[in-house]
C-alpha cells in the first residue's frame, strides 16, 4: 500500500500546453492524495508527530503565527504556482501585467511566516536586483521609462513567487512532494537532501583549514597574491575532504539499502484543497492581470 500512495496520474509539469496544465492542476485531486482524504484512515499510517489532521500547526512550523499558512502549504503546489507565474510573465513586458502579479505576490508576504531579519535578508537583494535592472534599462535602453519600469517589475514579479516557494518550504517536505506529486526521480532528490545536511559541515571545515594555515605560519598579511595562494590551497584541501565525506556518506546510504530496488515512502505529502486553491489563484491572478492590462491598453508582448 505504501507505493499506492504515490501519484498515479500526476505529471502535469511536462504537459505541453499551459492551458492544459492549468486545467489539470485545477482539477479535483482524483483521490490520489492521502493526507486529509477520507480513505486515509488509521493514525498508525503516519508518524505521530509529523502530521496534523486538526489544523494545528505541526511541530516544524511550530512557533509561527496561525495566519502563516504558506509554510504549511504543499511545496509542489507552491512550486507549480511559481512556475505558472514565470511562464505567464515571460511573454509580456508591460509594467501593468507584472505589477498586478507582483502586488498579489507581496500580498502573500504576511502569510509566509518570515521574521523581519529574514525578510530583509531576502528582500534587500531582490529589491536591489530589480532597481539595478530598471536603472540599466532606463539609462542604456532605447524604449523609455515605461519599458524600464516594466523590466524591473517583471523581474520582481517572476522572482518573488519562486523565492517564497523556496524559503517557506522545508527541504524534506519539498523532496517528498516533488517525488510523490510531480514524479521527480527519487534518488537524486534524496541525494540532494543528504548533501544539504553536509553544508554546515563544509563551512566548519573551511574555517578549520584557515586556522590550520595560521598554525603552520601561513597568513596573507595583506598581500593579495599570498591570499590567493592560500585560498587555492584551502580550496584543494576542502575538495579532498568533501570528496572523502561524500564517499563515506554514499557508503552509509548504500549500507542502508539505498543502492537499488523499489522504495516505499514513510511520509506522504498531503495535498489539501487549499493547495489546489493556491495554484488556481495563481492562474486566476495571472489571467486577470493579462486581461486588465489588455483592457487598459498597456499590454505589450515580448519582441525581439
Amino acid at each position: 500500500m505504501s507505493t499506492a500512495g504515490a501519484p498515479r496520474g500526476a505529471g502535469p509539469v511536462g504537459a505541453p500546453a499551459r492551458r492544459r496544465r492549468a486545467a489539470e492542476v485545477d482539477a479535483p485531486p482524483r483521490g490520489r492524495q492521502p493526507g486529509g482524504g477520507p480513505h486515509d484512515g488509521s493514525a498508525a499510517d503516519r508518524p505521530p508527530e509529523t502530521e496534523d489532521d486538526h489544523g494545528a500547526p505541526d511541530s516544524r512550523s511550530g512557533g509561527l503565527p496561525r495566519r502563516a499558512w504558506l509554510p504549511r502549504a504543499d511545496p509542489a503546489g507552491k512550486l507549480m504556482a511559481a512556475v505558472l507565474v514565470t511562464a505567464g510573465l515571460i511573454p509580456v513586458v508591460d509594467p501593468v501585467t507584472s505589477g498586478i502579479v507582483l502586488a498579489a505576490g507581496l500580498a502573500l508576504l504576511p502569510f509566509a511566516g518570515l521574521d523581519r531579519a529574514r525578510m530583509l535578508a531576502l528582500g534587500g537583494p531582490l529589491v536591489l536586483m530589480g532597481a539595478s535592472i530598471g536603472f540599466v534599462n532606463l539609462v542604456f535602453g532605447e524604449e523609455g521609462p515605461v519599458a524600464a519600469l516594466g523590466a524591473a517589475v517583471r523581474l520582481l514579479a517572476i522572482a518573488l513567487p519562486s523565492l517564497l516557494a523556496a524559503v517557506t518550504s522545508d527541504p524534506t517536505d519539498m523532496a517528498d512532494s516533488l517525488v510523490q506529486r510531480l514524479r521527480m526521480p527519487e534518488r537524486p532528490a534524496i541525494a540532494v537532501l543528504a548533501a544539504l545536511r553536509l553544508v554546515p559541515l563544509l563551512f566548519e571545515q573551511w574555517r578549520t583549514l584557515g586556522r590550520a594555515r595560521r598554525a603552520r605560519g601561513l597568513d596573507a598579511g595583506g598581500n593579495p597574491a599570498r591570499a590567493a595562494a592560500i585560498f587555492a590551497g584551502k580550496a584543494f584541501a576542502l575538495l579532498v575532504r568533501s570528496i572523502r565525506t561524500g564517499i563515506l556518506l554514499a557508503m552509509a546510504m548504500d549500507a542502508r539499502g539505498f543502492a537499488g530496488g523499489p522504495r516505499s515512502h514513510a511520509r506522504l505529502s498531503a495535498w489539501r484543497a487549499r493547495d489546489t486553491a493556491l495554484v488556481a489563484s495563481a492562474a486566476a491572478v495571472l489571467g486577470g492581470a493579462h486581461a486588465v492590462s489588455a483592457a487598459v491598453g498597456t499590454w505589450a508582448p515580448l519582441t525581439f
Binding site: T172, T208, G217, A255, R256, G257
Partner: protein, 584 residues
C-alpha cells in the same frame, strides 16, 4: 527484538581485497566462518583491513558497490554473495556525521526501511521501537543537527536496527564519542549483544575503553561477557588468532601488543621521564569567553557561547590535558591558547619566555611568528598539510625562516628519522596512513619551532585512532619536549594518555573549567607553587581573593590529593567559581 529474523552465517574462504590504485593487498587469504548468532570481536593493528572486511560483509565492495578494488576468494553471507539480500546486513561506522541522511530524526531512522520497500505503517512501528531500544529521548521531529555526537550515533544505531538485519556490523561505533556519549552507546550495544538474534561483528580499536572496564582485568572480563569470539587479522594477511576472548588475550596478547594492537591489560608503557620541576607560565588566558562559529550567511544564527569566563595557564615543562565531553569547549580553549582565535571576552597573553618575543595578545601575532613559538596539531592531520610532498612539508617552515638548503636538509632528515617517516619522504602527505599522517603533522609543528621545536605545543586529540606503536612514539616524543622545558597541552579523552603522561588535567564542562586536578607530583607542585605565588598577581589580579579564601595558603598538605590540587592553586578555574568565592 528488533534485530530479528535470526542470524546470518558468514563464510570467507581465501578471501582477499586490494583497494584500487594500491599495489599491496589490504587482506589476503582470510578463512573465517561466523555462525548464526555469534558475536565476534575483530581486532588488528591499524591498517589491518578490519573496516574493509566489514565493508565487504556489508556488500559495499561488489561490482556496483561504493568501494572499488580487486577481490579474490569467496565471501558468502547466508550462502549468497554479500549484499544480495538487501537489508539483511546493517553497518554502523565511526562517524555519525557521515551516516545521517535526513534532517529529522524519525525520517532518518525510516530511511533504511523505506529503501527496503517496507509498508508505511510498519515503517513507523519499526522506527518507534528502534528509537526506544537505543534510548532516544526526543520526538521524531528532532532535527538531527541539534543532536550531540552520542545521540547521533544512537540514532544511526536505531536506523540500522529498523532494517531488522540478520547481520549487524559495528565499525568502532564509539570511537568518535566522548566518555558520556560512548557510555550510553555501549550500554545499548551491550543490551543488543546479549539479547538480539542477529549475528554481530564488532571492530574496536581500543577494546578496553570500548567495553568500559575500569581495570585491565575487568576490561578483559567485559569483553568476554560481550563477545563469544575474538578474531585477529594481520595487515596484508589473514586471520592470525581466533578463539575465546580470554584464550586469545592470554596466548597471543604479547604478540598482538607488539604488533600495535590494543590488548586489554597490555597498554603501552612508554619510557617517560617524569616532570622534574614545573616551569613558569608561558601563556595565560584570563576570563575568556568564546562563541562557537555561527551559521553561514546573513541568516545564520549566531553561535552559542561555548566558554563562559575561563582562566587557564600553560606552564613550561608541564603536560596539561584539557578534558571534558564533546562540545564542552576543549577545542575552543585549545584554539584560544594556541593564538589561532581571539576570545570574545578576556585575554590570552604570552608570559615569561614567550613574552620576550612580544607581549601582545597571542591572537594578534603574525602567523609566522606564532608558528615559531606556538605549534598546534589539529585533530585531522590533513587539514594542516600545505605542500605535495612529505619532505617539502617539513622543509616548509625552516625554508621560510631563512635557513640555508643544507641546514634545512639536516633538519628535515632529523625529523624524518625521529618520527619514522624516512622511507616516505617523497610521497604525497594525503596518501599516508592515519598513523603516518599523525606523526607527520606533529613533525611539521616541530619543524617550525625556533630551536628544533616551538616553546608550546598544543595538540587536539593527538592519540585518536592510533595503534599502540604510534601512540607510544608520540607520548615519548611529547615527554622529551616536556623534559626540554617546553609546554605541552593536549585536548583529549584518551584515559591512557591522561594516566601515563598528563601532569595537570583541566576539566571543561558546559563552558566552565571544573575540577582541575593534579595528576602527577609535578602537577601538584605546580598547584602549590601557583597558590603561594598567587598574591604576586601572576593570575591576572585575582590573587588577592585567593589569599583571602578560607583554607588558603596555609593548608598546603592537601594539594597532593587530586581534588585538593584542583581546588587549590589550580592553573585553571572558571569565572563562576572565582566570583562565587569572591562573594563568599
Amino acid at each position: 527484538m528488533s534485530a530479528g529474523r535470526g542470524g546470518a552465517r558468514v563464510a570467507l574462504a581465501g578471501w582477499g581485497w586490494r583497494h584500487s590504485g594500491r599495489s599491496g593487498w589490504s587482506l589476503r587469504g582470510v578463512d573465517l566462518v561466523v555462525e548464526p548468532g555469534e558475536r565476534v570481536l575483530l581486532l588488528g593493528a591499524s591498517g589491518a583491513g578490519k573496516s574493509t572486511l566489514l565493508h565487504a560483509m556489508a556488500g559495499l565492495t561488489g561490482d556496483s558497490g561504493a568501494v572499488s578494488g580487486d577481490e579474490e576468494g569467496r565471501l558468502l553471507v547466508d550462502g549468497g554473495p554479500a549484499g544480495a539480500a538487501r537489508g539483511s546486513v546493517a553497518l554502523v561506522s565511526q562517524d555519525p556525521e557521515t551516516q545521517l541522511v535526513m534532517a529529522r530524526s524519525g525520517d532518518d531512522v525510516a530511511f533504511g526501511p523505506e529503501n527496503l520497500g517496507v509498508e508505511r505503517a510498519e515503517i513507523w512501528a519499526r522506527v518507534r521501537s528502534a528509537l526506544e531500544e537505543v534510548g532516544f529521548g526526543y520526538g521524531l521531529d528532532r532535527p538531527t543537527a541539534a543532536l550531540s555526537g552520542g545521540e547521533k550515533q544512537r540514532l544511526v544505531l536505531a536506523g540500522a536496527l529498523a532494517m531488522r538485519p540478520r547481520l549487524l556490523l559495528l565499525d568502532e561505533p564509539t570511537a568518535n564519542l566522548d566518555r558520556g556519549g560512548a557510555e550510553r552507546v555501549r550500554r545499548v550495544l551491550g543490551h543488543l549483544l546479549r539479547s538480539a538474534e542477529a549475528t554481530m561483528v564488532l571492530v574496536e580499536h581500543r577494546v578496553a575503553e570500548a567495553v568500559g572496564g575500569a581495570s585491565a582485568g575487568e576490561a578483559g572480563e567485559a569483553v568476554a561477557a560481550l563477545v563469544d569470539r575474538v578474531v585477529v587479522v594481520e595487515p596484508g594477511g589473514g586471520v592470525i588468532a581466533d578463539g575465546a576472548p580470554s584464550a586469545v588475550f592470554a596466548d597471543q596478547g604479547a604478540a598482538l601488543a607488539a604488533q600495535g594492537v590494543w590488548v586489554p591489560g597490555r597498554e603501552p608503557r612508554p619510557r617517560v621521564r617524569p616532570t622534574a620541576r614545573p616551569g613558569p607560565a608561558v601563556i595565560e588566558a584570563a576570563d575568556c569567553t568564546a562563541r562557537a562559529p555561527g551559521g553561514a550567511g546573513p541568516l545564520g544564527a549566531p553561535g552559542a557561547e561555548v566558554l563562559h569566563g575561563v582562566d587557564a595557564a600553560v606552564h613550561a615543562g608541564v603536560a596539561t590535558a584539557l578534558t571534558g565531553p564533546n562540545g564542552a569547549g576543549k577545542s575552543t580553549l585549545l584554539g584560544l591558547l594556541a593564538g589561532l582565535d581571539a576570545p570574545r571576552g578576556g585575554t590570552v597573553v604570552p608570559r615569561g619566555r614567550l613574552a620576550e618575543t612580544s607581549t601582545r595578545p597571542l591572537a594578534s601575532w603574525p602567523a609566522r611568528r606564532l608558528a615559531r613559538h606556538v605549534g598546534t596539531v589539529f585533530q585531522h592531520a590533513e587539514d594542516q598539510f600545505v605542500t605535495g610532498r612529505v619532505r617539502d612539508e617539513l622543509a616548509f617552515a625552516p625554508r621560510r625562516a631563512g635557513l640555508g638548503p643544507r641546514a634545512t636538509q639536516r633538519r628535515v632528515d632529523e625529523l624524518l628519522g625521529r618520527l619514522r617517516l624516512t622511507g616516505l619522504a617523497e610521497v604525497h602527505p594525503f596518501t599516508l596512513s592515519g598513523g603516518e599522517k599523525r606523526r607527520l603533522s606533529v613533525a611539521t609543528a616541530l619543524s617550525s619551532g625556533a630551536s628544533h621545536a616551538p616553546d608550546v605545543l598544543l595538540l587536539d586529540e593527538p592519540t585518536f585512532g592510533q595503534d599502540t606503536r604510534t601512540w607510544a612514539d608520540l607520548v615519548e616524543l611529547l615527554a622529551e619536549l616536556r623534559s626540554d622545558g617546553r609546554a605541552v597541552v593536549a585536548a583529549t579523552h584518551d584515559p591512557v594518555l591522561l594516566d601515563r603522561f598528563a601532569d595537570v588535567e583541566v576539566g571543561l564542562k558546559g563552558g566552565y573549567a571544573v575540577a582541575p586536578a593534579a595528576r602527577t607530583r609535578a602537577g601538584a607542585a605546580l598547584a602549590a607553587g601557583e597558590r603561594s605565588a598567587g598574591s604576586d598577581g601572576a593570575d591576572g589580579g585575582s590573587g588577592g581573593d585567593r589569599g583571602s579564601r578560607p583554607g588558603g595558603p596555609g593548608t598546603a598538605d592537601d594539594r597532593t590529593s587530586e581534588t585538593g590540587g584542583g581546588r587549590g592553586g589550580a592553573p585553571c578555574r572558571s569565572r563562576s567559581e572565582r566570583s562565587g568565592r569572591r562573594r563568599g
